[in-house]
């Protein structure tokens, strides 16, 4: 086994804020006319000064705490200097720990069960604007359009230690971090580009290769598998692996050497003089702690205890806050069978979700199923009004129409036949047709099951199996 080391850099937009990181502009730029959610500050006009958003500091502190980091008492901002047209000041205000730990969070740990992943730092920084090309092939354009609406939007960067040795753990970690961020309510992860991930991969302690431009978390695992294979092949062929930045090609699912050869950039970091060092203080930290919502780990423990779910079921639900919330709303409506409800959600409901939706982590958006539907369905199952097979088709019907299960069943005319007289009629006809089986059934349980199957077939599965079986037994007894 070749030793693999993977580290992650996750960028999370604080979409839960209403304004940008350093100015009062609206931070929701999605769908806005280009260059309209801007002001002299986020445009970096001469003479403007950054005004730090206090709630952004609170949000970043919450993320830090949730990832097991120590929230620093003193935090400082730094300038990262580089020239790029999407960067209004030609420097980015960020945080930097090379001259002492001054990022909001540092030294955290995320438990993945079998192992834990170190969090090197959690920091606040500003997003740049966006370059827009008319032609998808960047080099074919004669001009570039710039939209500064995104410039200055608050980002939290989470940097892990290179503690991963396989892509699967990366996936587990990302699921957990995503769920944590969702539970904190700081970022709407469903929005395009609100959560991004760059990865670093090195083999056998060799040179580090960075992969950028991975658009979805699902592709992170694919990009890593590709990159590890690529580097392994190079090792076998004794080709030197260079320290470089590669881009993930979304269409071809391969990593590509960046067209512009990014040399080792010197960002000339130095402390941002316009934002004084901030001393957070115990009171700030204890206020944040008191306001922290229930986190995934705590919620899971509660699910195991209160609903007696299995560890696996609880994990699947909680890895996606949408599912966990759906589950709890359903249980509220029908508290008798939490386990049955959980299974309906994670197997049957999820089965109706497209893979593309799974990537977006917006599972239920296209479906018209609500907690009340599942609650009623499970209740009907518990009351033997419908069997599981029919319930499944009812569910897929609800997904399209949003009707209540009882309504769907009525239309399908599929409710269980529990009237003994109706079942008896069916039994009569089967007994006439299957004379030899009836004879055998007196001694052979298999033949009895055969008769049951025939009755079910005749009623298209709607006969209550228990009642049917009892009636068959009674009729056989009468025959003796």
């Amino acid at each position: 086994m070749v030793e693999v080391k993977i580290g992650l850099e996750i960028h999370c937009q604080l979409t839960g804020l209403s304004s940008k990181l350093f100015c009062p502009c609206q931070c929701d730029y999605r769908g806005e006319v280009p260059n309209t959610t801007i002001c002299p500050i986020c445009l970096g006009l001469p003479g403007t000064l950054p005004l730090l958003n206090k709630r952004a500091v609170a949000f970043a502190s919450m993320i830090s705490m949730a990832l097991g980091c120590k929230v620093q008492e003193r935090i400082t901002f730094y300038r990262k200097n580089y020239f790029y047209p999407d960067l209004p000041k030609n420097f980015q205000i960020t945080q930097y720990n090379a001259f002492g730990i001054t990022s909001i969070g540092a030294d955290g740990k995320v438990d993945l069960g079998a192992k834990s992943i170190g969090i090197r730092r959690v920091q606040l920084e500003e997003d740049p604007g966006r370059l827009i090309y008319e032609n998808a092939d960047v080099n074919a354009n004669f001009y570039t359009l710039i939209d500064y609406n995104r410039a200055g939007v608050a980002l939290v960067e989470i940097v892990t230690e290179p503690d991963f040795d396989n892509p699967k753990d990366v996936r587990l970690f990302l699921d957990k971090v995503t769920s944590t961020i969702e539970h904190l309510g700081v970022c709407d992860i469903k929005l395009d580009g609100s959560l991004r991930c760059d990865v670093n991969v090195s083999l056998k302690g060799g040179k580090k290769v960075e992969i950028k431009n991975i658009n979805s978390f699902g592709d992170v695992e694919k990009a890593l598998r590709y990159e590890i294979t690529r580097q392994k092949t190079m090792l076998i062929r004794e080709i030197e692996i260079k320290s470089e930045t590669r881009h993930w090609d979304d269409a071809r699912k391969v990593t590509m050497q960046s067209r512009t050869k990014e040399e080792e950039q010197d960002y000339k970091y130095f402390p941002e003089p316009d934002i004084p060092t901030i001393i957070l203080g115990d009171q700030f930290i204890s206020t944040i702690k008191a306001k922290m919502p229930e986190l995934p780990d705590e919620r899971k423990i509660r699910f195991l205890k209160d609903y007696a779910l299995s560890d696996h079921v609880a994990k699947v639900l909680i890895d996606n806050k949408e599912l966990a919330d759906f589950f709890e709303s359903t249980v509220k409506l029908y508290p008798s069978s939490p386990n049955e409800i959980a299974h309906w959600i994670i197997s049957d409901l999820l089965g109706l979700v497209d893979d593309s939706k799974k990537e977006e982590r917006s599972l239920l958006s296209g479906l018209r199923i609500e907690p009340k539907h599942i609650a009623e369905l499970v209740k009907m199952i518990d009351q033997n009004k419908v069997n599981r097979n029919i319930a499944k088709s009812v569910l897929s019907q609800i997904a399209r129409t949003g009707e209540m299960p009882s309504c769907v069943l009525d239309k399908m005319n599929a409710s269980l036949i529990d009237s003994e007289s109706k079942i008896a009629e069916a039994i009569d006809s089967i007994f006439e047709l299957e004379i030899s089986a009836v004879r055998d059934a007196k001694h052979n349980p298999n033949a009895m099951n055969f008769l049951l199957g025939k009755v079910m077939q005749m009623t298209r599965g709607r006969a209550d199996p228990k009642i049917t079986l009892n009636l068959i037994k009674a009729r056989l007894a009468r025959m003796e």
């Binding site: 445009l43 006009l45 001469p46 003479g47 200097n81 047209p85 000041k89 000339k268 130095f270 004084p276």
Partner: protein, 498 residues
Amino acid sequence: MPNHLYHLTANQVTCGIRNGEFSAQEYIFQILERIEKVDNKINAFILVDKQGAIEKARSIDKRLRDGGAVGELAGIAVGIKDNICIKDLKTTCASNILESYIPPYDADVIRRLKENDAIVVGKLNLDEFAMGSTTEFSRYGPTRNPWNLDYVAGGSSGGSAASVAASECAVSLGSDTGGSIRCPSSFCSVVGLKPTYGCVSRSGLISYSNSLEQIGPLGKTVLDVVMVMNAIAGIDENDQTTKPIRPIATRTSEDISTSNISSKYTAGQNKRNITIGLVKELIQGADPAVSKCIYTAVDLFEGLDCKCEETSMKSIQYALASYYTIATAEASSNLARYDNIRYGFDYDPEGYEWNTYFSNVRNNFGDEAKRRIIIGSYVLSAGYYGKYYLKAQKARERIRQEIKSLFERFDVLIGPTMPILPFKIGEKIDDPLKMYQIDIDTVIANLAGIPAISIPIGFSNSFPVGLQIMADYMGEQTLFDVASFFEKIVDVRRSPEI
């Protein structure tokens, strides 16, 4: 109506207008006429806002006629250094790079001046981006010293000092990063204050070196400077480095100032029993023509109950190196935004690839700005950060500590503002090191973040000499008390013949 209204101090102007001795309009017409007449010799103004000034004067007169209220600075003609943004007026920083830049907002100080009914008459010349000590590095040519037109006015706020000295405006605003208000104040014989860091909002001041600079007033008298400070000082939510004006009690605070709690400054209080520290290193390093003048003044003070004692400030040896390292580092980053994409000057990007266009644009900086960008980039680059930038910060901290301990013993520290007299235009422009060295006396206050004022103290070979007074952090009131006391004793106020 007195003749030559333009010679009046700011205080006299606003009193005269309020008392109905003359109207704001009459006064402003005289000011505009004066500018017209003398500025072709001085070159203090980059832009004169005639129309805006007249409109403002008319509105003040109308309000007074209608019995309405007017602000504290009603009718006073104020000139603004051209690195402070005024909405809808060109703000160039005396640079080609910002030749056609029109800010969409007012600097906080401008908002406050306007609220106080001061009349902004125009934008004043400076060294490009405030980088210089003579105003020779301006794309609009040097500002000339009103006392001798062949000589430099000092800088970088040369326009701010020369315009007040030549009575083209009553008061002005400058900015001071390493002496840029005090140097020209000394060379032109006006009063100029560099406030405590955080006392005046920098919002709207086009940054050269954020951790060092402050906007400050220049005027003919200490009182005028105090009046402007009362308008512009205070917390601004658009500048998170501003702090409440709360003078920090010094050892003899009870003797020096009784207005510790007040947020308004006062001038003209006759304060006695002041303990003055005369900084040995500053006075020894000065030209004898300057130091002689300072010693004469010190003798005067000593005769008037002031305790004057020579003291040493050892960390001065690190001051210049520390200053130029920090200032250029911050400058290199601040000036990075000038890529002509969002604003700047007329230069069509059509046909250029981004990198080429960017290089061509950046070539429009003047020599001194380029020099400082290069030095600043160097001291911040990987591998040199510890050797230069960090070391400079350590030196800065040491200077701060030494200053702090000195203010345990002294109410104020004094010395010459400039180590030399004004020199001929062109004399030092080719020798950057020599040019940097004349900032030695002034950079200390910027590094320590303390307030410092330059007041006229006399003339030597018919050139003005300024006395620099420094006080402890937030000790503006102490400065004003001492400065107005000295001002009264030495009484050197006169106007140059132009």
